[in-house]
């Protein structure tokens, strides 16, 4: 961890990690799909954000981007282009926001704060996608989604605060 995170070389370890985390996003997306729907078109809790956050923290923008794209591709082939577009918008925004705060907040925020920001921006990104498709009135849901995101984001943050130090320790 000597170099700053976003300048990291994309070596074999990163490659393997990105692959595994991408697989994890697919599993989490699938599990999330089995949960009852939120009353919002296509919006999800953002459990898969867990793995996106791990990938972004470990491997920077490149790792996060790969994971996000693979997740969106999976959404396209299983749930159709509309769901894929929503997934892409949500996770891309979320990933950029988390990456930005991970690198530039001078460690003021904890993992929980990053997780919450990621979850909120994930929902915001999905609503923007829904707005692009359908126009108007979808932002009515935003306040409810923000409250849900605070909880899921906290969960994401806690899990990553337990997971990331351990993963970084075994890094070759």
């Amino acid at each position: 961890m000597k170099k700053s995170k976003h300048k990291k070389k994309f070596n074999t370890t990163s490659f393997a990690q990105t692959a595994m985390l991408s697989a994890l996003t697919i599993v989490l997306s699938f599990l999330e799909g089995m949960l009852p729907e939120l009353p919002v078109p296509g919006a999800k809790l953002g459990l898969a954000n867990l793995a996106v956050m791990t990938a972004t923290d470990l491997n920077g923008l490149g790792g996060g981007l790969c994971t996000t794209l693979i997740k969106a591709f999976f959404a396209v082939i299983t749930r159709g282009p509309v769901a894929g577009f929503m997934s892409l918008c949500g996770s891309l925004l979320s990933m950029f926001v988390m990456w930005f705060f991970m690198n530039y907040d001078r460690k003021k925020l904890g993992y929980v704060g990053i997780g919450v920001l990621g979850a909120v921006s994930h929902n915001l990104g999905q609503l923007i996608a829904a707005f692009a498709i359908i126009g108007g009135s979808v932002f009515f849901y935003l306040p409810f989604l923000i409250i849900v995101a605070v909880f899921t984001g906290t969960f994401t943050g806690i899990v990553n605060s337990l997971l990331l130090p351990a993963v970084k320790k075994v890094r070759v």
Binding site: P41, R106, A130, I147, G157
Partner: protein, 132 residues
């Protein structure tokens, strides 16, 4: 002051709680503002791709009426004196049907596959919500 890179990120910091408090406050006040808006004189507005395809004032509805909206997915809207509901649709995910009945100004039912949104509006405060 540029960075203290060697410090380890904590699990939770005071800033996290500030962030969460701000988010929850914003969300709760937004919900409060939405609910404060006028619930008298509600009007149903159905849009397809941002174009209004159907409007109906609820005050002139005396009993339940079923209105077919979209030919492609056969969406049927049930308009009631106190609210509106999508009762059937042939879209894949049925989110619009599962949303159930909406009764308050600013609430919406959305069917993304059909590009249909059903909104209730009433009073002046609607300018806050309808963006399209």
């Amino acid at each position: 002051m540029q960075n203290n890179k060697n410090t380890v990120r904590k699990r939770v910091t005071a800033w996290d709680f500030v962030l969460m408090a701000v988010l929850v406050c914003v969300a709760v006040s937004a919900i409060f503002i939405q609910h404060k808006s006028n619930d008298e004189l509600l009007e149903v507005v159905v849009k397809k791709d941002s174009e209004i395809v159907y409007t109906q004032s609820l005050s002139s509805v005396s009993r339940e009426t079923d209105v077919p909206i979209d030919n492609e997915y056969n969406i049927i809207l049930r308009v009631m004196p106190d609210g509106v509901q999508v009762i059937s649709s042939e879209c894949g995910d049925k989110i619009c049907v599962n949303t159930g009945k909406i009764t308050r100004s600013g609430q919406a039912v959305v069917c993304l596959p059909a590009h249909i949104s059903v909104t209730l509006r009433g009073g002046e405060s609607e300018a806050d919500v309808i963006v399209g």
